[in-house]
């Protein structure tokens, strides 16, 4: 059996300054931001974009369907 390779040491992305920081950190070593709060704000933003995209797609589908049926 082969000896295992080196297990990578993972880092965490700061959603404030986009630097990677140590995974155990609570605040960013580069910008000082609160990592959990920034992550939550980011997740909220992503959810908002997804909702808008879904609504747009639905509207386009409805318009396309209406035209097809006209």
């Amino acid at each position: 059996m082969a000896e295992a390779g080196r297990i990578p040491v993972p880092l965490r992305l700061c959603r404030g300054c986009r630097q990677f920081v140590r995974i155990e950190n609570e605040s960013c070593d580069f910008c000082g931001g609160d990592l959990a709060a920034l992550e939550a704000a980011h997740a909220e933003g992503v959810a908002e974009i997804r909702a808008v995209t879904a609504a747009l797609r639905a509207a386009m589908a409805a318009k396309g369907g209406g035209e097809a049926g006209a």
Partner: protein, 406 residues
Amino acid sequence: MIVERADLSLPVRYSGLDDILKRVPVSVVWEITLACDLACQHCGSRAGRRRRDELSTEEALDLVDQIAELGARSVGLIGGEAYLRKDWLQIIAAIRSAGMECDLQTGGRNLTDERVAQAAAAGLNAVGISIDGIGATHDRLRGVVGSYEMALTAMRNVRAHGLEVGVNTQINARTLHELRDLMEIIIEAGCHNWQLAITTAMGNAADHADMLLQPWQMMEVLPLLAELASEGRERGLFLQPASNIGYFGPHESRLRNVMNEEIHFHGCNAGDTVMGIEADGTIKSCPGLPSPYAGGNIRDRRLRDIWENAEPMAFNRRRTVEDLWGYCRTCYYAETCLAGCTWTAHALMGRAGNNPMCHHRALDFDARGLRERLVKVKDAEGRSFDHGEFEIVVEAAVREALVADG
């Protein structure tokens, strides 16, 4: 690059944690001949003539079986120029028969329609064609007038036969400012994969120090590549930075984003999930590394024995922060990065563990009004995969003079 293997849309050469734990050589890069029809100014192996003692067809086919036994998923054929080996189609067919994917990395000078047709029939999956710059820039680097047009023709030939085609580009002082225009050409040509690497000071490149980028130029290279990666992704071009491009800084996520913004550089993976093979059967943990990293030769030992037991193959999994030196030793990212690309560090500094070609490092120096400059202090000897030696000079950062318009 480490990714979640559950995502089946990723190329098979991408490795996952399970591959590291089992130490599967997921991606094998095999120089099947050193014969070459180009004369590249940056060629690390100084390809041209074939090696005196390249593997016979019988040995090569046996090696294919041994590679498959180790669980490899992808074999990339390089040279020299792989198609100059008479039995290259047999090798491709054997790799495919053994259940592995096979790609060809080529300069494309003589990758004729007929050759592509034969390779496709043998089962070749993909072709990566080297295009470094536009027109004369490429021709000069590749040492053959007209080689740029030949590469574009090869690309068309590959596409015509339905094979996946990608482009490989060297980033150096001569090509850096053409990358954006080159991306347009690549997209227009219908390519979806663009692999970029910084020219490493090995072989012929060590003889052309003026071609090499300086450490402080990472402050230009990384933002540019991150920008091109984002733009390319939106237009269907997947930019793949080689392991010698990085590391960290504010563009890391954008540069290495493969469907996940949290992906980042994890350190050199030579000998863990990557294997290199020279045309004479020498086994290395990475195709670019010089001879001290050779684990043995398949004429003397079975491949599995070399892969699992040869000490030179184990340097990566033995490496700790204690092995680092210079700036890298105390860097914020030391534990994860472990000084980046071993090949680049060794070629520049004569030993691994301190890699000046780093964005985070350049930014750190710049914040203190400083920059690092490499000065060659020893020439390479002129052998395949040899290198010179460089010293790092720390000097005051030179700011571009801003000229007010009007």
